[in-house]
Symmetry: C2
Subunit: 428 residues, 2 copies
């Protein structure tokens, strides 16, 4: 009965070998010409289009297995590829190809009285491990972003999307080859063996520099708990929109409905609406009505229930729930201070917004709310690297170290200090 | 016999309570006026001078215990405080007080076609845990740097320096009080209980954001191995100076001797000198002679031994040894490529230098050597936050995430994105 152990030993050796190849590829990539990376990505997009039939056939295998396993419709939709989605993936790779190359950018420069000239210069991070679940497009998005920043990537797809991911990966590798870059620049774990994740979280003997989990809360939770290397992620996006007494009501209604209902399953969706107790009397019923008419269930405190019979009683658990659904919690608070306190207690340092026409109140909120993204008079659904102008993102991070907020190409880099002298020695 | 366990439970509760106080203080500090932080540091420096007699008496206790324990002279010297050193510590605090406040600085700003205006704004990191050994001045340096950046600090002094550190800490607290800042902004673990370190490394239930170890390799090794929170540190500074065939020999001699011998115990001291095989014949004997005359033992490869009878044979272990002493390893390499390869194999990504008059060779080295600090025509002993113009540092980090190189006030901060709109909602 030592079969599992033998299988795991084999997986470990496979994974460590992938790690070593990735480290060597990362070294080559860190010195690669910007043009080579761009050419590899353009060629990968072309290879993806050329391989549409192959990718669709692979996807059909994943879909058949998912249907046989009785997976829910939302799951099947995340997994599904069609011609339009493959074209979308190819376009996404081309957009990343055209981003400016971050490597070598001078972030700061200064001189010292002794004549030494200092520069802080962007360098790649190294090897990025990306662990994802059912969306096969992450293979292309994450691999392309990592490559553009000069990093090697080790991708681990969910077993449900493995056939599709392998087919997409083959197109990426063909792009790398045609540009003369190492094939190991983007590797995909070729088996569905779950032990692979554990090995990646342990860091492959120093061959992984950072892990990015892309998936549901249980995946992120496991990664954050077990990883022995740094993780760029957020566990929950429990985002708030606070409507101040000095808000323009039409703007507040428009922003709140968009922030909650544009897409309810994204991490930047508002989960709790906070309303100033001192707001004019029509604010609360207008906000409740607009949300309910947009198809949202409203769970409110006593005041909110009093304002509209359709409001369901909220329990304390509602303030701490990321619904990711057409449900919102609603609470009256004591002005901007009350909103900041509520967010400090229940928020997840992801994205929080204030709607107010009062500049002073807005500035207080923007300063004191301790979140990666704070917005004034705009929807929390702007929490997205594309909307920031980053040209793509690998995720949104809520940690305070290194990458915070949307993790785009620049956030996948580090830096080094370059010091130029003409013989300076340090006085004793 | 469950006494140790009870003691540890008490320590745990003490430590967790310190963590909670630190978190609350960090919140207050993140909103504190720059003037309050400056005032607190100025007052702390004054309190330090006023308490000179008390601090000296405390130091005498530490010194008596160290002498009784038969500690070596170098240890006693690190531990020792006198009037001049106390004045130096006070001056150091005053210098940190006058640094510009990083909190609130706008790091980047841009607008999007939809009118949203984005800013990336510096915010404090939160709570910094600093674990150090025998140098009591770290209490003041690290506490002051953390405070200037708006962070709370939890300091854990070595048991050997605890009396001195407590006396210095009292002066810092007096400064905080006089400026109306929370006393818990800078806390010192009041007991020598070793279990405190373990609790800090576990993160005090989310109340420590980053750990900075200040001490020898065994401390850093333990911290890097056990910490469940991010660590800013370097394990070893195995720094190289490469002398290229196109170097100016006088400059090379001056830089190499300074890089090795100015102070041999610092992390930026050069440990291995690499010399280009194609360098003119007089380079090798001149470098060996200068080092030996400066009091340095030279351990060289066969060529170096052939050049001077006083050169001792190096073993492979020498290329991997951080001597921190008047000993240097010396090796001939095949040009700048050979130097880069040697550094990639044996270096610690800390600080490496090239001496050459050839600009192209220099640029290749600066680009390809994968170290936090790379220098051209200057001594590796410039690896120091003060020399970078950072006005102080809490250490030098070799990790690629967040803080790399000298960790000064700015490196002890994070950032958030502030987004200002006028009603923008995100299109579906």
């Amino acid at each position: 009965m030592n079969k599992p152990e033998r299988i795991d030993a084999a997986t470990e050796e496979t994974m460590l070998a992938m790690g070593r190849r990735a480290r060597a590829a990362a070294h080559a990539l860190s010195l690669a010409a910007p043009e080579a990376k761009t050419a590899a990505l353009r060629a990968a997009a072309k290879a993806m289009r050329d391989a549409t039939a192959t990718i669709l056939a692979a996807s059909e295998k994943d879909l058949a297995a998912a249907r046989a396993a009785g997976r829910p419709a939302a799951f099947i939709d995340r997994l599904m590829l069609n011609e339009a989605r493959i074209e979308g993936i190819a376009k996404g790779i081309e957009e990343i190809a055209e981003l400016s190359d971050p490597v070598g950018t001078v972030l700061a420069e200064w001189a010292r009285p002794n004549g030494l000239r200092f520069q802080r210069v962007r360098v790649p991070l190294g090897v990025i491990g990306i662990i994802f679940e059912s969306r096969p497009n992450v293979t292309a998005d994450a691999g392309a972003l990592a490559l553009k920043a000069g990093n090697a990537a080790i991708l681990r797809a969910g077993s449900e999307s493995l056939h599709s991911s392998l087919a997409i990966h083959a197109a990426l590798v063909s792009g790398l080859k045609s540009a003369g870059l190492p094939e190991a620049a983007i590797q995909l774990v070729p088996t569905p063996d779950r032990a692979a994740v554990g090995h990646m979280l342990a860091g492959l003997e120093g061959c992984i520099d950072v892990i990015v989990p892309r998936g549901g809360k249980s995946l992120v939770e496991r990664v954050q708990k077990e990883a022995r290397v740094p993780v760029f992620a957020h566990l929950e996006g429990l985002c708030h929109t606070y409507v101040d007494k000095d808000a323009d009501l039409d703007m507040a209604v428009s922003i709140v409905v968009n922030a909650k209902m544009r897409r309810t399953g994204v991490c930047g969706a508002t989960e709790t609406v906070l309303i100033d107790k001192a707001a004019p009397a029509q604010f609360l019923p207008a906000l409740v009505k607009a949300l309910i008419e947009a198809g949202c269930e409203v769970r409110g405190d006593a005041t909110a229930q009093g304002a509209d019979a359709r409001v369901i009683a909220a329990s304390d658990a509602d303030w701490a729930t990321e619904y990711l659904d057409a449900v919102v919690a609603m609470k009256m608070v004591d002005g901007v201070g009350g909103a900041i306190d509520h967010i400090a207690r229940y928020g997840t340092q992801h994205t929080d917004a204030i709607v107010t026409a009062n500049a002073e109140t807005a500035e207080r909120f923007l300063r004191e709310a301790d979140s990666a993204i704070v917005l004034h008079n705009a929807s929390t659904q702007f929490a997205d690297g594309g909307e920031f102008g980053f040209g793509g993102e690998i995720g949104i991070a809520t940690g305070k170290l290194h990458a915070r907020g949307p993790v785009g190409v620049e956030q996948l880099t580090s830096f080094k200090y370059v010091v130029r002298g003409n013989g300076q020695i340090r006085p004793t």
